[in-house]
Assembly symmetry: C2
Homo-oligomer: 492 residues x 2
């Protein structure tokens, strides 16, 4: 199998698709639009899950599990939400197969096993969860409810890409219920901040916090907070969203509570989620033409040791040394793999670990044993040096920390140099096509302008940044008055 | 809400159903046969998952994720497996809803969005996984593949009960591929041993390891290893299964490998799983008429502290003491919750923690502060004593360990006293109805006898124990020759 990737410059999209498959992260399955997440890719997702789960619990949330299916009558209860997802729903209509009388050995749907009411495979769980919360909430004493769910969801997308857009994907969805509007908005903001913290400090991906325009809002939300990242090809990627749902779902499912004065009111809601799409963001932020580059926090193993030997005696001596190193690293919480496969030569191993983004690679040969040295290669910079074995653990610990920081700094530098203030539409179009990236420009606040810009340039408003400076200006497209700059970009 | 449960003696089945709901473990959902797993129940499941996942990884397995849907043509490829599950499949036939022209505000299935090929919601994943493995396996170098998946599955059961039998349930399913028959059988046995180890040493549930008879075997398996537990009502519960699948799936999906002599052969397979059904086993093994009893290993929090106070000053002093205790316990890895809710009186808190099976309860009042004591209550024995605060952490640590051991010993004693050797059919029927439990009896090895016994008594052969003494005898029903005793019981 050739490990050579198409370069990013040649064809960014092809580079991505090849990398995902060749680095053993995921592949397409026999089911249209659904992926198989392979062990190496899944191990990275598990690291993300563990950290997010810790952060959710630290902010007072508990996990629970709600049904995969949503009866159609519940699904349609919140009209905007239903309308937003109706066009991409997998629908279960029958509950049995039977032998096909016309095709021996084949099965067919049993026409007598039609469900009275169709079941939608959840594209998101607000409907099933709020129909459940109705039974849990009577009084303010029952609030807040702070629940998260790790689950699979299905959205029948027509054009799919591994991790970025798949018919089935894995995610977490938080669904909270509150007594006051203020508390619900604070929760939605808090979780958007948790996502930003996770993206920046754990995934080393700089993000812009903002809110969506009405047309980009989650179906059924009053306000959608989001974090937006910039990929190496200058396209934006929405990495997480947190919705203030107002009382929309409480009204749709008649969920009321009596407040501490005994008055009945509808409950306030939020929902928030990130998905396996983050794998796509991770890959496209840091990786290079040699393959995956992983921030040390997310690497299934952070260090790999490759023995270079000609005979068994040498291998034994190297193995002994490797075990000492592994033990020392493990005691500091650093994961290390000894790649002693006899089926591959060192060169092939090097190439594979580069392709799979192992942060640090140690090579040990007989001369190293004599000299008390090792060869240490760093994946992000591709630099290599022979270093003394003394203080190796501390050296590695420092290097891993430096890589985590450096990757963030590099991505931030890229984003900053690809964020352009623009004041006229000709420049807007030119920057979008040549320089790419985020365009910070004035907008008149209307959906018409937003749509027109999208039709003409394919750029959308990624967000109205939370830290937007309130400055008067003229809309980059219509010339009408604007209250501040928003971020436009082409997006995944 | 009344916390009083129906007693086990009065109505065991009702006791179980009430306990699951009142202890906040799970409840029925708006979707027929599907449950909502509530935060407290899910926290227990998470503890099980974490420990099992650790054990799987320790035995060399990796996690991955395969699609929720199985195209019908793949589903039907392994005939026995398809036949076994066809009657209980949820089937997706359409991928879109549309506005119902006859019902404003309602949706209907879009007749133009019919799938060319129906998709079965996975009842188990052998088909989709072996169709994937075909692309992964060419040579013996690609073997073994040792993969596990944590997932939801759907089996359209007609009669459902929370945790024990639900249309959707959560589970893990291991799917391994091997070069030799011997290795695959060893893997199936190994994982059955892992399950037994987990059940006994983590869940405190004694189990019998055995193999299933042909009629009770997994559809598509050559041999099904299992662990069988005994519930307090004398009915057996299959707690986990591990299947040696032979080359059945490799043949159905044409998965061949070249061995180290370059010869092509079909790959050998295993699969193994445990599910949220274990929650049912846990509840029915240890709990009592006051509610849930949890082995300390599985308790979301192992200790709860309830303050007894009349004024804020007292509460403040108790809080200070509680924080010291919590910190000391935490340093020993013991989880502890301070229940300082002002909405409930101590008595109500005691009842709730008893109902929810918190292993140890500490009560602290003003007198305790004066005397340097606390009141410590043990959930399994319902014993209570005032003890000196000195060495509290060590006392608690010892008590938790003792509870874990005692619960297992108690369950083992129950099982031993409810396992009866029987040699004639009249006694068989009588023991089954009056004493209940496992019946160890000779069986002639035929499916006819097995079926006849089931029809007459509702008892099935739970397993042929792996440690069965090979002794000649006469079948308890037919009188024909038998090679050893098997275990009969009524079962969940």
């Amino acid at each position: 199998m050739s490990k050579n990737l198409t370069s990013r410059e040649e064809d960014y999209s092809k580079w991505y698709n090849e990398l995902v498959v060749k680095a053993d992260l995921a592949e397409n399955s026999a089911v249209r639009g659904c992926m198989v997440i392979k062990p190496y890719g899944y191990a990275i997702w598990e690291k993300m899950q563990a950290e997010l789960d810790r952060m959710f619990k630290e902010t007072g949330h508990q996990n629970a599990y709600f049904p995969l299916f949503v009866p159609k009558s519940l699904f349609e209860a919140e009209e905007k939400n239903a309308e937003g997802f109706a066009k991409e729903c997998a629908v279960v209509t029958h509950y049995r197969l039977q032998n096909d009388p016309e095709n021996k050995g084949k099965l067919r749907v049993d026409p007598n096993a039609k469900l009275e009411e169709e079941l939608v495979v959840r594209p998101t769980s607000e409907a099933i969860i709020w129909s459940t919360y109705k039974g849990w909430i009577q009084s303010y004493r029952d609030l807040p409810i702070l629940i998260n769910q790790w689950a699979n969801v299905v959205r029948w997308e027509m054009r799919t890409r591994l991790f970025l857009r798949t018919a089935e994907f894995l995610w977490q969805e938080g669904h909270t219920a509150h007594a006051t509007k203020k508390e619900a908005i604070e929760e939605a903001e808090l979780m958007n901040n948790v996502y930003a913290d996770f993206a920046e400090n754990f995934m080393a991906i700089p993000v812009i916090k903002g809110v969506k325009t009405e047309s980009e809002r989650f179906a059924g939300a009053v306000e959608t907070f989001c974090i937006e990242a910039l990929m190496q090809d200058g396209k934006a990627l929405q990495a997480g969203t947190s919705h203030f749902l107002g009382q929309n779902f409480a009204k749709a499912f008649d969920v009321k509570f009596s407040n501490n004065e005994g008055k009945l009111d509808y409950v306030w809601a939020t929902s928030w989620g990130v998905s396996t799409r983050l794998m796509g963001a991770l890959i496209m932020t840091h990786s290079d033409d040699k393959g995956l580059v992983l921030p040390p926090n997310l690497a299934p193993f952070q260090v790999v040791i490759v023995p270079i030997y000609k005979n068994e005696e040498q291998l034994n001596a190297i193995t002994e040394k490797a075990n000492t190193i592994i033990k020392a690293l493990k005691s500091k919480g650093i994961s290390c793999k000894f790649d002693n496969r006899t089926t591959h030569r060192p060169g092939a191993k090097f190439a594979q670990h580069e392709l799979q983004g192992v942060p640090l690679r140690i090579a040990i040969g007989p001369k190293d044993l004599e000299n008390g040295t090792i060869e240490l290669a760093r994946r992000d910079t591709l630099s290599k040096e022979v270093i003394d074995m003394t203080n190796l653990t501390a050296t590695i610990q420092n290097l891993l920390e430096a890589m985590q920081t450096d990757l963030f700094a590099k991505a931030l530098k890229f984003r900053n140099s690809h964020t352009t203030e623009v004041d006229d539409f000709e420049t807007f179009k030119k920057v979008l096509e040549t320089k790419t990236g985020f365009i910070s420009a004035h907008w008149d606040g209307t959906a018409e302008t937003e749509l027109k810009v999208k039709e003409l340039t394919k750029a959308t408003i990624r967000c109205i940044p939370l830290n937007m400076t309130k400055e008067g200006g003229k809309c980059v497209y219509s010339g009408k008055p604007s209250k501040g700059r928003v971020l436009f970009a082409k997006a995944y």
